[in-house]
Symmetry: C2
Subunit: 154 residues, 2 copies
DNA sequence: TATTGTTATACTCTATAACTATA
DNA sequence: TATAGTTATAGAGTATAACAATA
């Protein structure tokens, strides 16, 4: 699916005789770095047959029991219309249950299977994260993450 | 097209009573930050009827006259098969010309119109970049950009 | 035998529109 | 009147496969 993608994405520009006028742009570096980490995480989860978006949803429910799918959509910037088939699929696979909260809202809860897969996913994400920028200090890493949050948190 | 997208993406998590277990992840912060900057750049270029990928191609040609579309694809991680319709469209719109380099390769060059649009695009990209993290020093910004390059440059 | 350019095609992601039911 | 959930659908972006022409 994404096999071989991250290695292709990671070809260093030093391999070419060309200059890349985008190299000094924050937006460009964000896009390339994000694509490589996303591809790596996707490979990391492939044998579980879970997408990055699906595990993001499961982890939200695990951290916020009885959250609704609309709330998850607002947190993760996924439209209501696109949340519906994802939660339906995750329920069909036995990772979550739905309980009527009121007449129109449904509380989402993980099943035992959902909680088990979340533990496995957290382990894999930890190892995935540790593969990138292994040489910077925890303080530098935290500063980097906080700086990135400033870009998109209003 | 992407109207209103960046404002929706930038809704702060503080607006919700939920905790986001992804907040501390480098990959998550990269994805959100990248999406917001991409959406902003897309809006910035919308009235020129140019996509972010199209201007990336034009800027590569401007910086590397007579580059081939395969080389651009390698630099930007765009597959040959997807480069073909893009360069065809940019040529049809009068932004670039093709000259046979050898029997199978074509040198790409910007037309006068292509160079003019590149100047406008560079101005807009500069203002776009300046809208993000306006309070950090140039040195901090450069350090951030170099750190991001370490993530994806092999 | 490998590379360039091209076409066809499929899959994912994400967007809008429209609908029902409920607050 | 606004919101939750759903379905249908359309547009990007990106993947593979196959082909002809050339190195």
């Amino acid at each position: 699916m994404m096999a071989g993608m991250s290695s292709a994405l990671r070809l260093p520009s030093a391999d070419t005789p060309f200059t890349n006028p985008l190299d000094g742009l924050l937006g460009y570096q964000l896009r390339r770095a994000s694509a490589v980490m996303l591809a790596d995480l996707s490979e990391t989860l492939a044998d579980l047959d879970l997408t990055v978006t699906e595990v993001s949803i499961l982890l939200q429910i695990d951290a916020n029991p009885d959250i609704t799918q609309s709330d998850i959509g607002r947190i993760l910037a996924i439209k209501r219309a696109n949340m519906a088939p994802m939660t339906a699929a995750l329920q069909e696979r036995g990772f979550l249950d739905r309980v009527a909260a009121d007449g129109r809202s449904q509380s989402l809860r993980l099943t035992e299977r959902g909680r088990t897969i979340c533990n496995e996913v957290r382990d894999r994400i930890s190892r995935h994260e540790a593969r990138f920028l292994p040489d910077i200090s925890p303080a530098e890493r935290e500063a980097l993450i906080e700086m990135l949050a400033l870009i998109w948190v209003g």
